[in-house]
């Protein structure tokens, strides 16, 4: 069980959180204009890397805030926890 350092509450056990999957996926602004393939890419396609993944977490059983985590998918090492809107480290 991971120990996640919520930027608002401090380190808490993973079971207080829910994972929102890959981070930094911006919603297309011109949804009418983009192709089905581009829309499908936004909707369904995720990177699923071996190594560092940038992902969203929600402190669902705590402050209910969303934030970003840079985590190694092999070792589970968390390199950085950063707030929504902050750039990818």
């Amino acid at each position: 069980m991971l120990l996640i350092d919520c930027p608002y509450c401090g380190p808490r056990a993973e079971l207080e959180f829910s994972c929102g999957g890959e981070a930094h996926i911006a919603r297309p602004l011109n949804t009418e204009a983009i192709s089905d393939a581009e829309w499908a890419d936004y909707l369904f396609m995720r990177k699923n890397p071996k190594g560092t993944q940038y992902e969203r977490w929600n402190h669902a059983r705590g402050c209910r805030r969303w934030f970003n985590v840079a985590r190694d998918t092999v070792t589970h090492k968390i390199y950085k926890v950063y707030k929504m809107g902050e750039p990818k480290p």
């Binding site: 069980m1 991971l2 120990l3 056990a13 929102g20 911006a26 919603r27 297309p28 949804t31 009418e32 983009i34 089905d36 829309w39 499908a40 936004y42 909707l43 969203r56 929600n58 669902a60 209910r64 805030r65 969303w66 070792t75 589970h76 929504m84 809107g85």
Partner: protein
């Protein structure tokens, strides 16, 4: 005088002044306080304690610890009984009842032991080879093989005991309280760290409790007493005896099982039986020690054949003489200590059979001084004795085999030792990489994956001095790295306890090839022999993972603690490869078995999940309503009158609502208060219809979809003020919808000025439905005009109802005139009873969720999650009218243009009318257009809702059917196991088709 025939007159740390009675297989015995079941049985001369898994061979006690593969015991009886416990870990208490396992009719005479005579027909992979054909017979085979191969029995009644769970945090968690663990805890504790020290044994001290060595000029056990006293004085040190650290997970999260009262005869009722500790440690020190390695010699499994160090432990710690005349087989000096211990306690050592070509040194001199014969370059080639070993055959070694005349030695105890195997289980579970230590012939910790150190025996540092030094530095460094800066003091100094590694002997040679004269057991618990390992290798199971699964090697409840390394050695030798090249199997939690109760703790029965009840719940209970669980909510299902079944009650309730007035407790609907200048923008984005022009005081129904265009919630939202809305959600989805809104606001549109607050539990909601609804409500309110002009459909008014401040919504889930009255939760019950009293003259009828479903189905109103299943678009539901063409982008919009969502022949929501009007279709029934004699048939969809409607006077149903809107008027079939139901496809609306009832 004690009748414990094998209890030494003195020695050990059992309390001879306290005698404890217990029974084993129905026979009464006595032991002492401080005994384990194993030591007490040995004190009574009992070695035979079980039958082996596959061959039903008589088995005794091999070890003195948690690694025990043989002595598995059924403890207690009735609902408290627990199977497969290790006798070596069961603390003796008064009245303890234990029995042996896997034998019938008795331990001494076991029918299943015929398997031993037939063993040539039970080779490695026996199950795979034998029970393959015909395939359909597997279930029959399984029935018998499960019975034949079982160990203990599971209890048949619910466990009456309590279990609990707790979290703990510390700077340094030390696992194992032997010399290294104690040294680590002392160092970390002295430095000022918050320390947890856990050990699986009832007494902390590990090997020191049975040691002849000295520490700091004191005997080892005295040093332990002092060390524990010092630790006890430290405020931030928690000592956890009887606590097995069984799992090591990510980010230094470890799980421990504490036996709180399971070792007591009459535990205090407020204490749990066992407790799960969930520890998050800044630093971990693993001091898990090492396990003595058995030697693989012919017929090495008879009762009375034990590991050398286990014999030392029984002699020195428990004052028990496991035998009177012993033979020791060894490849190392350390095991000589056991022979000395036995001799000093009054036993005879007939001979020490040493596998090494030449022996010398202080231990050899010491045993020779006692007059013990040492046979270097010799091997035990066989053993004898039916239910207990009574002799061994010894031959001289030469060129990888044996030669010369066999010599027979009579004995009642055989000790053996093949060296030591570090316990790297937890290190490996933590994803640390193991490395091979050639001198030790064992895997030891290599590169750690977590913030952790291994110290002492589990690192292969097996001499006492090394353990103390290693433990001290690990504890001191852990404290330092945890940010604690106090003085850790110095390491304790040891006298004695030196360790000299010896080359391994994987199979002890016999005078016949392996497998032909007796059995060389490797895995005692799963009855895997050296011959099985060699056979598997010959058959091509060369990978250690394949070997494990083919032979079941290491797959018992002991997880191969005593056997895995020998199997690897034998396999490597057979393949002429070094052991590290062969590799090892994966170490997985739990280290030792954990009860299900420990994992469950209090999370079962009523405490498994929170229950949510409305403010009116007690009234429903008083009316004998059964409850339906909707998420965590308990909702009144229907209100049966005397003699009514559910069908009768629902028919009455549904009819009464349409003819006069009915009320339903709708408090469970999710309610989200949305405020801020961008609230309308948010609604426009999450709902498919337009919200910009909704006036204050007006309500609108909305469908909420995912980005994939699929419906996931619906509900009515009302504009309360300029920047203030109240959204309602379905009962089960309230939290998910709030999360959904927050997700968008926090992650995608943080600049939007909107706050969302759950107010579900702040309001109680009673929906008044039916032609008399206006008249009834009118009697209870004076400040809200109720006529259609002043208070039109889909609007909200504030005022007072029955003297209670209320928000009244004219929204309807029945299609009839309806007022949903919301009052603060604490007034919910008062509102309900006021309505019931005032409504008596209108024959007011409370109705439950079942009637609510019938009434909405009469009108064709959907329920999200019933008519939809996550693959349903608004268009599939025939609700194109609610998807705005004018407004800008919103969630789901782009997906309606995807080819798959845009095609015309998707599954559509339709109505179904059965040919036989009284027949009710089963919900979930599969629908076909072409009927065949038997499956497979082409399935078009399924029935989503189906009821008998008293107001329509017949059964009604809704369904999703492929291309359904183009099948209106068609007959479809629902084939069931015993009959086929025919139905006609119709519009999904059955009652009040013109919609005239809404205004009363």
């Amino acid at each position: 005088m004690s009748n414990q025939t094998h209890r030494a007159a003195q020695g050990g740390i059992v309390d001879r002044s306290r005698t404890i009675g217990f029974t084993f297989d129905g026979k009464r015995y006595e032991g002492h306080a401080g005994d384990t079941l194993a030591s007490a049985l040995l004190a009574n001369g009992v070695h035979l304690v079980g039958r082996s898994f596959k061959y039903h061979r008589p088995r005794g006690i091999l070890t003195a610890g948690s690694e025990e593969p043989n002595a598995l015991i059924q403890l207690g009886d009735g609902p408290k009984t627990e199977p497969n416990l290790r006798a070596t870990q069961i603390e003796l208490f008064d009245g303890l009842v234990a029995s042996s396992q896997n034998r019938w009719p008795s331990l001494n005479f076991d029918i299943g032991s015929i398997n031993n005579l037939l063993s040539r027909y039970f080779p490695a992979g026996f199950y795979y080879k034998t029970f393959m054909w015909p395939p359909s017979f597997w279930m029959k085979y399984e029935y018998f093989t499960r019975r034949a191969a079982g160990l203990g029995k599971a209890p048949e009644a619910p466990d009456p005991d309590r279990y609990s769970k707790t979290f703990a945090h510390c700077d340094v968690l030390v696992v194992g309280a032997g010399p290294a663990g104690l040294a680590a805890a002392l160092a970390a504790g002295r430095a000022g760290a918050r320390v947890i020290l856990a050990d699986e044994q009832p007494q902390l001290g590990g090997s020191l409790l049975a040691s002849t060595d000295q520490i700091e000029g004191k005997s080892a056990d005295e040093w332990v007493v002092d060390a524990l006293a010092e630790l006890g004085r430290m405020a931030d040190v928690r000592l956890l005896p009887r606590t097995n650290a069984f799992g090591y997970y990510d980010h230094n999260y470890l799980t421990l099982m504490e036996r709180v009262t399971s070792h007591l005869a009459s535990p205090a009722s407020h204490l749990p039986r066992q407790r799960l500790w969930r520890v998050r440690a800044k630093q971990v020190v693993l001091a898990t020690g090492a396990i003595e390695r058995p030697l693989v010699f012919a017929d090495n499994d008879r009762p009375g054949i034990m590991l050398a160090n286990a014999v030392s432990t029984y002699v020195r710690r428990y004052g028990v003489l496991p035998g009177r005349r012993a033979v020791l087989l060894t490849n190392n000096d350390g095991a000589y200590r056991a022979a000395l211990d036995l001799a000093e306690a009054g036993g005879t050592v007939a001979a020490i059979v040493d596998l090494r070509p030449e022996v010398s040194g202080p231990m050899v001199d010491a045993v020779r001084a006692k007059g013990i014969e040492v046979l270097a370059n010799h091997a035990i080639t066989g053993t004898s004795g039916k239910l207990r070993v009574d002799g061994v055959t010894v031959m001289q070694l030469a060129r990888g085999g044996v030669f010369g005349e066999p010599r027979s030695l009579s004995c009642d105890l055989v000790l053996h030792s093949g060296g030591w195997t570090p316990s790297v289980h937890l290190f490996s579970q933590s994803r640390g990489k193991l490395k091979w230590d050639d001198a030790l012939s064992a895997f030891v910790p290599g590169v750690a994956a977590q913030v952790q150190r291994s110290a002492g025996g589990c690192c292969g540092n097996l001499s006492l001095g090394d353990c103390l030094d290693d433990g001290h530095s690990a504890g001191a460094e852990a404290a330092r790295d945890a940010g604690v800066s106090g003085d850790a003091g110095r390491a304790a100094s040891a006298l004695g306890g030196d360790f000299i590694p010896a080359p391994p002997v994987w199979i002890v040679p016999s005078d016949k090839p392996v497998g032909h004269n007796g059995k060389h057991f490797v895995d005692f618990q799963n009855d895997v022999t050296a011959a099985d390992v060699l056979l598997a290798n010959r058959e091509g199971y060369r990978s250690v993972e394949h070997l494990k699964r083919y032979t079941t090697m290491g797959m018992g409840t002991d997880q191969g603690k005593t056997s895995n390394i020998n199997a690897l050695g034998i396999l490597a030798e057979a393949q002429s490869r070094p052991v590290p090249e062969v590799g090892h199997t994966t170490f997985r939690p739990p280290y030792t078995p954990v009860t299900i109760g420990t994992f469950s703790g209090d999370d079962h029965g009523d405490l498994l999940e929170p229950v949510r009840r409305t403010a009116i719940h007690h009234w429903h209970e008083g009316a004998n309503a059964p409850f339906e669980n909707v998420g965590q909510w308990h909702r009144a299902w229907y209100y049966p009158k005397a003699g009514e079944d559910m069908h009768a009650a629902v028919n009455r309730e549904a009819r009464a609502m349409r003819t006069s007035v009915g009320i339903v407790d709708a408090s469970t609907l999710g309610k989200i208060d949305i405020q801020g200048p961008d609230a309308a923008k948010l609604l426009n984005f999450v709902y498919t219809n337009a919200w910009s022009k909704l006036d204050i005081g007006r309500s609108r129904y909305g469908l909420m979809c995912g980005e994939d265009g699929m419906v996931f919630d619906d509900g009515v939202t009302t504009r309360l003020g300029e920047h203030h809305y109240l959204m309602t959600t379905t009962t089960g989805n309230a939290a998910r919808v709030l999360g959904w809104l927050e997700n968008w606001l926090q992650c995608e549109y943080p600049d939007w000025k909107v706050y969302c607050t759950s107010v579900t539990e702040q309001w109680a909601t009673v929906a008044i439905n039916g032609p008399m609804a206006r008249r009834l409500l009118g009697e209870l309110t004076s400040d809200i005009p109720l006529d259609n002009e002043s208070f039109p459909f889909m609007s909200m008014r504030e005022g007072s109802v029955a003297g209670i401040p209320a928000r009244v919504f004219r929204i309807s889930f029945t299609g009839d005139l309806s007022f949903e009255v919301n009052v603060p939760s604490s007034y919910g019950h008062a509102l309900w009873t006021a309505l019931m009293a005032a409504g008596e003259k209108y024959q007011i009828t409370p109705y439950g969720t079942e009637t609510m479903h019938v009434l909405r189905a009469e009108k064709g109103f959907i329920i999200v999650g019933q008519e939809t299943d996550g693959s349903t678009t608004p268009q599939d539901l025939g609700m194109n009218w609610i998807v705005s063409k004018q407004k800008g982008d919103f969630i789901g919009k782009r997906s309606y243009a995807r080819p798959d969502t845009a095609r015309g022949d998707r599954k559509h929501l339709v109505g179904l009318l059965t040919e036989n009007a009284s027949e009710v279709l089963p919900e979930g029934g599969q629908i076909v257009a072409e009927l065949k004699d038997k499956p497979p048939m082409v399935m078009l969809g399924h029935v989503t809702s189906s009821y008998f409607s008293p107001n329509v006077g017949r059964s009604i149903a809704m369904a999703v059917i492929k291309n359904g809107r183009n099948r209106m008027g068609d007959t479809i079939f629902v084939p069931l196991a015993d009959r086929t139901i025919r139905a006609k496809v119709v519009e999904p609306k059955f009652f009040d088709l013109e919609g005239t009832r809404i205004d009363g």
